[in-house]
């Protein structure tokens, strides 16, 4: 359908090799009102995640007696895409909210907070393929920032198929004109909590894609860990300062 070439001499349009992530920037604790928050850039994606809770559930009949419920709202700002989108959720954002919630739910110790809710809100400020994975990465860190007890972090990125080759972390053009896109999310121990695929892959390509995406997630995990440690030690320092007074 498209004559464009996306990989030339092993180098992609934006200069990356097949197994490279786009540049990542993460900042934790960027919002004052939220209990936890994280800002993330993955290439040209800019997302911000906030966590509120555990807090009371309204309306009451949504309460679960023996655990917290998790809500996840993925939302794109009207100005985040080329053609302005109407505010409010569409079918795509309902689906992404559901799979993103299910990507994080397995690691949250919900049984610690019966009858309560943990709300995760992700706002996409700029979109360039990969917003759901960026959102999950940011949300995972925001949960930690909010002090929500978790088994582990969750890290997420996509692998895709472009010019017949499996590549890591496709950007917008690769996603639009590529042959497949497969976002995943995994725990540090390799358990898969998100897995979607559309496009066409053979079984072999699928295994390659999984391996490549796992590698990307591991790299992201290191960054997530680092920003949390940095923030944590900053508090430590502050505490030290405080005790010195």
């Amino acid at each position: 359908m498209d004559e464009r070439v996306f990989i030339k001499d092993g180098i992609r349009l934006d200069g990356r090799r097949f197994d490279e992530l786009r540049p990542i920037k993460m900042e934790v604790g960027v919002l004052k009102r939220a209990d936890g928050s994280c800002y993330m850039e993955m290439g040209d994606n800019k997302v911000i995640a906030a966590v509120y809770g555990p807090r009371e559930v309204h309306p009451r009949h949504l309460q679960e007696v023996n655990r917290a419920i998790i809500r996840y709202r993925y939302n794109m700002a009207s100005f985040s895409v080329e053609e302005r989108r109407r505010p409010g959720p569409d079918r795509r954002s309902y689906e992404l909210s559901k799979v993103s919630r299910e990507a994080l739910e397995p690691v949250i110790l919900t049984s610690y907070f019966p009858k309560s809710v943990i709300d995760i809100f992700v706002e996409v400020l700029q979109a360039d393929a990969g917003t759901r994975t960026a959102g999950i990465n940011a949300a995972s860190v925001a949960l930690a920032d909010a002090g929500i007890p978790m088994r582990s972090l969750v890290s997420s990125c996509a692998a895709g198929k472009v010019d017949g080759q499996i590549v890591l972390d496709p950007m917008k053009d690769e996603d639009n004109f590529g042959q497949a896109d497969m976002p995943i999310a995994i725990t540090p121990t390799g358990e898969i909590t998100l897995l979607q695929m559309d496009g066409m892959m053979t079984r072999d390509e699928f295994r390659q894609a999984i391996e490549l995406a796992k590698k990307g997630c591991q790299e992201i995990y290191r960054i997530q860990r680092k920003v949390l440690i940095d923030r944590y030690s900053q508090f430590e320092d502050l505490q030290d300062e405080g005790s010195r007074r």
Binding site: I70, K98, V99, T193, Q196, D198, M200, I210, K214
Partner: protein, 257 residues
């Protein structure tokens, strides 16, 4: 089902599974009996009633002229919608589709779309202005488990028997909807080390993670969706994918070719 009954039922099913058995005697990879009745809705351009065990799903196809998408001005359009009508389950509620209905419709849609099942290039009427729009409407009638596979099967079965009603709109002779591939969705759930295909409603209730794999006639994977608040190991995923391809092949050959 009250929660007490449901706990007992859950324990029972688990114990069975530990012994390598399922409540209805199926093997872990085996589907419930499948029946497909086609073209039973005369008002629709195509239709299929799928029975997957006790699960019943009706899919209707309507085809009408409409506008193409700006980025594909010469191609037909597919619109997929799923109604989890409250008739089908005590937990379905009236109202616009919730996230479960939306996910169902979007996964079925991706299977049809990504497999290139419908030859959309053959559905242009006036380039850039008018194309055939195919509405795939999924109506769940009785949810006894695995409505994903039943819906997906209903969609392709209905498409296979659909006629483009050109004459009704003064656009030439009616013609059969050109279908080029037969994507089949197969779904499995995990229990510890075990994966079960075609979960019934009780098995779904106790499983944490579910994986749907859609394959084309040539064995290529054209769609996947993990759902449910659980996780899958890499090995489980590979195992499901491998068996899914086999199951899909069997279903495709038996019911749709």
């Amino acid at each position: 089902m009250s929660s007490v009954i449901s706990e007992i039922r859950k324990d029972y099913l688990y114990n069975l599974l530990l012994r390598g058995e399922r409540a209805d005697g199926r093997s872990f990879t085996q589907y419930r009996p499948i029946e497909i009745e086609r073209n039973i809705i005369k008002k629709a351009e195509g239709s299929a009633l799928v029975r997957l065990g006790k699960t019943q799903v009706m899919v209707g196809i309507k085809i009408q002229p409409g506008e193409p998408f700006p980025d594909a001005p010469n191609r037909g359009v597919i619109v997929t919608n799923a109604e989890l009508v409250p008739l089908a389950s005590p937990i379905f509620e009236p109202g616009p589709p919730n996230e479960y209905g939306i996910e169902l419709a979007r996964v079925v849609d991706r299977g049809v779309r990504e497999s290139g099942a419908v030859d959309l290039d053959a559905l242009c009427i006036v380039p850039g202005e008018k194309v055939w729009v195919i509405f795939i409407d999924i109506h769940i009638l009785d949810d006894c488990g695995n409505i994903m596979d039943a819906s997906s099967l209903g969609a392709i079965a209905a498409l296979l028997g659909s006629t483009v009603p050109a004459s009704r709109f003064g656009l030439g002779d009616d013609f059969q909807l050109p279908v080029r591939d037969i994507p089949i969705a197969t779904t499995a759930v995990e229990f510890g080390d075990v994966v079960l295909f075609d979960p019934d409603i009780d098995e779904e209730a106790i499983a944490d993670a579910k994986l749907t794999v859609i394959t084309k006639a040539d064995g290529t994977i054209c769609g996947m969706q993990k759902s449910g608040p659980g996780m899958l190991s890499e090995e489980q995923v590979y195992r499901i994918v491998d068996i899914a391809c086999e199951n899909a092949k069997e279903i495709r050959e038996k019911f749709l070719e």
